[in-house]
């Protein structure tokens, strides 16, 4: 039950652009066990979506992976050819994107797209349209969409944003087996719909016993749904812990800053932001990428990327402050 489903090791991803190379991912480590709900938190531009795209191997042509492995149940998927990949994906991978409008092809009906997704998912053996239709209708129904029959013949443009996102979830329902990746699933939705969509996602994952990777920049969201959280900054995983633990005892200065920058309903006072901006990926800092913005930085920080340090209780931090011998520098 607790086998490791996904293991990303030391992943580097570079983008070739005019005038240089964007070194976006800088040695990312990320694991997900089967049945687990993991969160991936970080600000816009830190590389969350890139990591997922690398995992799905849908990176654009100008991306290259100079180093690192992505293992799915022990198999390194970077070495698979496209047919083996399609097979693997069909076996039970699903992804829900941030913007439901762009996630659905506007010139095909919901039904056409749904049928294809069903047809190519492994474990589906039906031959006739009617079989696909049944699966499709059931999925649409489970996603709490009104009038599933008509929905099949509709085009995405005829639906509202919330409905489109639920259609995307229906795709996942129709096929999800092992892993659901939800990339900012509620960001572009009205607050009233957000709750519904979240609940759908959680129900779906729990019912199928699937793993969930929830990507978000909202800490509150991560707290609600996930069991374990990774915090990402500028292409590195800088902290990881069980969700409750992370929120109780954030260690990395960046995580602390993030939590402090959430305005509180009670207690008054303004929230503090984190000064500075994410680094230029063309010329990233040689050491810790957060160093330029960090109040606690010292000499080691700019020399090399800090290693991942295990604090215990499944809590890991990539920060020199937590190395043996640096207790003095921390003000816990």
């Amino acid at each position: 039950m607790s086998e490791i489903l996904l293991d990303i090791r030391n992943l580097h991803v570079w983008f070739k652009v005019y005038g240089g190379v964007l070194k976006v991912l800088n040695g990312v480590n990320f694991t997900v066990k089967s049945g687990e709900k993991v969160g991936l938190v970080g600000e816009t531009g830190c590389g969350k979506t890139t990591t997922m795209k690398a995992l799905l191997r849908v990176l654009p042509n100008l991306a290259l992976i100079p180093e690192g492995d992505i293992l799915v149940r022990g198999r390194n998927i970077l070495e698979l050819n496209s047919r083996e990949l399609a097979d693997l994906r069909g076996r039970g991978l699903s992804m829900i994107f941030q913007d439901p409008t762009s996630a659905l092809n506007p010139v095909f009906t919901i039904g056409q797209q749904l049928y294809d997704v069903i047809k190519y998912s492994v474990g589906y053996s039906g031959r006739k349209i009617a079989d696909k239709k049944n699966v499709a209708l059931r999925a649409l129904h489970e996603a709490r969409l009104p009038d599933p029959e008509r929905m099949l013949d509709s085009y995405p443009v005829q639906l509202s944003g919330g409905m489109r996102q639920r259609v995307c979830i229906a795709f996942a329902i129709a096929t999800a087996r092992e892993l659901l990746i939800a990339d900012e699933p509620t960001t572009n939705l009205d607050v009233t719909i957000q709750d519904q969509v979240l609940r759908l996602i959680r129900d779906l994952v729990e019912k199928k016993g699937a793993s969930l990777i929830l990507i978000t920049h909202s800490l509150g969201l991560a707290r609600e749904i996930t069991e374990r959280v990774y915090v990402m900054y500028a292409g590195n995983m800088i902290e990881m812990a069980a969700t409750s633990l992370l929120f109780e005892k954030p260690l990395h200065p960046y995580t602390r800053g993030l939590l402090a920058s959430v305005p509180r309903l009670s207690g008054g006072g303004f929230a503090e932001g984190i000064p500075g901006r994410i680094p230029d990926y063309r010329n990233p800092p040689p050491g810790c990428r957060f160093e330029p913005r960090c109040q606690h930085a010292f000499e080691s920080c700019s020399k090399a990327m800090p290693p991942c340090i295990d604090i215990g209780n499944g809590h890991q931090v990539a920060c020199y402050l937590y190395q043996k011998g640096q207790e003095g520098k921390r003000n816990v």
Binding site: Y18, G19, G45, R277, I278, D280, Y281, R282
Partner: protein, 301 residues
């Protein structure tokens, strides 16, 4: 998101430094593609040749009333790099002089059609959904439904064949395309927040049109204008091919090709070189226009 130093005090500095800086950046973006630089060189060459034609051509008098039957139909040689035509005129000189008229036509046509087109397009786009919009765009649609070359030909054929009438014909066929482009840009820009903010603070419509909306259309406009120089020249050549537009003995690229075609394949140079000259001009402005598009496009995150 990347390298802008937005919060440093330098940015609020001397406006001259800022302009110079943005010029440098624009050049950097332009010059990244060597083809654009090539286009720039070609465009400069053409402009230079056109402006300084009388001083640069080997036989400037051949561009006017000139006859020299002794030297007619000479193939390319060192004296006449592109040969001579049926009445002995040097083809190279005539081509250089024809660039003058070509550029003149492009300038006149584009000035009028861009002004007219953007004005109508801005108005229609800003008032999109109202009667103003509908009237303007229906009229524009009628013109757009006919390919510009056909429209220009028809109009020019009805009028007397002069350069001025050719320019009028092409202008009439051209302005609707600017209307259409500005219209779609303006109608999406008008919904941006900064426009709504300006409206709220009571800015006059004219101010909004020209200071808020128009600048944001400028990159598309400039790109299209640069590319259009080539296309206008093309349509102009088509007109003169038929005999509309600049009349002989004044040199025009289209007329030269028409004369040359009669003499194919024996005196192939009479038709080929003007054809290549048009290709050169259109290619140059196209590469240049592509470079402008790159230079004016915003940085991607």
């Amino acid at each position: 998101m990347m390298t802008e130093k937005m919060f440093t005090p330098d940015a609020i500095e001397d406006p001259w430094v800022r302009t110079l800086d943005s010029l440098k950046k624009t050049w950097y973006k332009f010059s990244r593609n060597w083809l654009s630089v090539l286009g720039l060189v070609m465009v400069f060459t053409i402009i230079f040749l056109a402006v300084f034609a009388p001083y640069v051509t080997p036989y400037p008098q051949h561009a006017g009333k000139f006859v020299d039957f002794k030297n007619k139909n000479q193939p390319p040689s060192w004296q006449h790099l592109m040969g001579t035509d049926t009445i002995g005129r040097d083809i190279l000189s005539r081509i250089i002089f024809s660039f003058r008229n070509a550029l003149l036509m492009a300038i006149v046509v584009l000035s009028v059609s861009v002004s007219l087109g953007t004005l109508t397009g801005l108005t229609a786009g800003y008032y999109s959904g109202t009667r103003v919009d509908i009237v303007i765009m229906r009229v524009t649609d009628v013109f757009i439904s006919i390919p510009p070359i056909i429209l220009a030909l028809s109009i020019a054929a009805v009028l007397k064949p002069t350069l001025m009438n050719a320019m009028i014909a092409v202008t009439i066929s051209w302005w609707p395309w600017y209307t259409r482009m500005t219209y779609s840009l303006a109608s999406s820009i008008k919904n941006e927040y900064y426009v709504q903010a300006a409206e709220l603070t009571g800015a006059s419509k004219i101010y909004i049109l020209f200071s808020e909306i128009l600048p944001n259309c400028s990159s598309s406009l400039f790109t299209k204008m640069a590319l259009d120089v080539g296309w206008v020249t093309l349509v102009g050549a088509a007109l003169s091919f038929v005999g509309l537009g600049e009349q002989p003995p004044k040199p025009a690229l289209g007329t030269m090709i028409a004369e040359g075609v009669e003499r194919m394949p024996g005196q192939w140079w009479i038709a080929l070189f003007p054809a290549l000259a048009i290709m050169f001009l259109v290619l140059g402005f196209n590469l240049f226009g592509d470079g402008i598009r790159d230079a004016l496009s915003p940085e991607e995150a």
